[in-house]
């Protein structure tokens, strides 16, 4: 590949960005200022503001540059805090052309590079001429697909499925036209009884707070006998606010069905609006089985899942895998999801066989209640962490999803020779944190996890490209 020379953004960039800066400024100060200053002074201030904004943006533009070198995109920017970023093109999930209205007017476009796990675009080139942006996009995409085994992850970033599955990907959580009819290859595995959903929600702390909240709202109303419209309306709003969470959970978990497809699991649920979400096994970061205190007598668990996306898709994340289920089913579904996520169907994951190691007994000085429940286990496929007691939960992540491992030790822990092991995945909802391990054990664990994760990555099917 030829190393391209260093390039600049379009010279009109400062004007556009300056205008944007100014618009924000006006939005902040505007009406208040307009009233005080009067039209003439106000417009002068705006002009001065525009001048400053353009000068700042021009300076920023002057130091910004990008370069396609070998298989990297290098972006240099920043006026005071200089930053140069090197993005290996293998890691790019999608290259998008974005054209905000003002830029479109000037025939300009922004190029955004998405990498997985990023909450926003990690590489953004604003602005280029539309033609140049399109050319650069084509060039980057060809470089992205050049050596990487997967097809260019441009449109959906859809990775090819595991060898057993067909190439189609159910990445979009709500597939049009698939809301109600089940597809031909789909088989319903389990339906959660609506009665259980209702009962289980009655047995959670937020629900128990509802009567309290209602009472707190009604008592002043009754005693004061002030039936003005505002009073009634505000009370009603407050009541809705209090009852919202449990009701929303029940509504969204209504008619909860899990079915299997060739690519993984599909969830359908909802009372008012039926949602259909697919669980792409390649993106499962972690699964957690939790047992709230009041559910234990019934032997119920809730299973949650953390699925990573990128860019706009990051917001469409599957959260609940099973709103309520008995232990047996919860484990079975968890096993299935993890086995799919690990990519070895011949070597199923079994969460009941995890040998959880307890922390040393001196950990009770720091967490007298939780100490009994803490535990961590590492197998050749997954890493699992148990925490408790309110709620008691077990979080499991496939080793192939482990991004980094950290050992953190606070002053109190140092005195007790304890340390915390964090296992980081691209997910954010279900963190894996093993509290209060023995100091030496923590470092050994971190090393073990790092090594096991490396081995798991090497053994993973080559087609699986996305976490």
């Amino acid at each position: 590949m030829t190393a391209g020379s260093r390039q600049r953004l379009h010279p009109l960039t400062p004007l556009l960005k300056g205008a944007r800066l100014l618009a924000t400024g006006i939005a902040v100060f505007s009406w208040n200022g307009y009233e005080r200053l009067g039209p003439l002074h106000w417009s002068l201030t705006v002009l001065a503001g525009l001048g400053v904004a353009v000068v700042v943006s021009t300076a920023a533009w002057a130091v910004t540059g990008f370069q396609v070198a070998e298989r990297e995109l290098r972006v240099r920017e920043g006026l005071l805090w200089r930053r140069s970023r090197a993005i290996p093109l293998e890691r790019v999930q999608s290259v998008d052309l974005v054209r905000p209205p003002l830029a479109r007017l000037l025939g300009l476009a922004e190029l955004r590079l998405e990498v997985i796990g990023g909450k926003r675009s990690e590489g953004s080139l604003a602005y280029l001429t539309a033609g140049e942006a399109a050319r650069l996009r084509t060039r980057l995409l060809s470089l992205v697909s050049g050596r990487a085994p997967e097809p260019p992850a441009s449109e959906e970033g859809a990775p090819t499925g595991p060898p057993t599955g067909p190439g189609q990907e159910g990445g979009a959580p709500t597939g049009p036209g698939q809301i109600d009819g089940t597809g031909p290859a789909e088989r319903v595995v389990h339906t959660v009884a609506n009665r259980d959903v209702l009962v289980s929600q009655l047995l959670t702390v937020p629900t128990w707070l509802v009567p309290l909240g209602i009472a707190a709202n009604l008592v002043p109303l009754m005693s004061g006998m002030d039936w003005s419209f505002i009073q009634v309306a505000s009370t009603l709003t407050a009541l809705v606010g209090v009852a919202q969470l449990p009701v929303r959970r029940v509504v969204s978990s209504w008619n909860f069905r899990i079915s299997t497809e060739p690519t993984g699991l599909r969830l359908r649920h909802g009372l008012l609006e039926t949602r259909s979400e697919s669980v792409p096994p390649q993106r499962v970061q972690a699964v957690s089985i939790s047992r709230p205190l009041l559910w234990r007598r019934r032997g119920w668990s809730r299973v949650r899942i953390d699925v990573a996306g990128y860019g706009a898709e990051a917001t469409l994340r599957v959260g609940t895998l099973l709103p309520v289920a008995d232990q047996h089913l919860a484990r079975a579904i968890t096993n299935q999801v993890l086995t799919d996520a690990c990519g070895h169907r011949d070597r199923p994951v079994d969460v009941t066989r995890l040998a959880l190691a307890a922390p040393p007994s001196r950990a009770r000085w720091l967490s007298p209640l939780a100490c009994r429940h803490l535990g961590i286990a590492v197998t050749d496929q997954v890493v699992a962490v148990r925490q408790g007691p309110l709620p008691l939960f077990l979080t499991i992540a496939p080793l192939t999803r482990v991004q980094s491992v950290r050992v953190v030790q606070g002053p109190l822990q140092r005195a007790l020779r304890l340390a915390v092991v964090h296992v980081d995945t691209a997910g954010i909802r279900l963190p894996l944190i093993a509290y209060h391990r023995d100091e030496a054990e923590a470092h050994a664990l971190a090393e073990t996890i790092a090594t096991a994760a490396r081995a798991a990555r090497r053994g993973a099917p080559a087609a699986r490209t996305t976490s």
Partner: protein
Amino acid sequence: MSPRLAWIQVIATLFWVIVIIAGFGVVRSWDTSGRLWPIAVALVALTLVRGGTAVRSVRSWGYAERDDDLLVRHGLLVRRLSIIPYARMQFVDVSAGPLERVLGLATVTMHTAAAASDARVPGLAGPEASRLRDRLAALGETRSEGL
């Protein structure tokens, strides 16, 4: 880590002391009761202590490039050690603030898909920062086993 990093921390601390003192000066011009002085003194003392620990805190930073991963350790009170496989690298940043640039230092940050990954190596001399950046980028590419 370059010992010059300690200078940055000391200068930054001094900067804050000046800001705080100036802030109290402004407040005092309105409030003449003088009750604010103890707080100001305490703040100044705190920042001075912070400046004093700068050298030790800079020494606590360390990193090691191993075959498959980067180790970064830092922290005095809360000690942190991170293991970040090169295979997980998504991109590398080299950044330098105004003070760092004056002293010829830069910070190299390796980003993974996990927001929590802590792979920041501050206070590297310019050439060393470029070397580390290039090495990480190259390793990230060759060790890349897919995400």
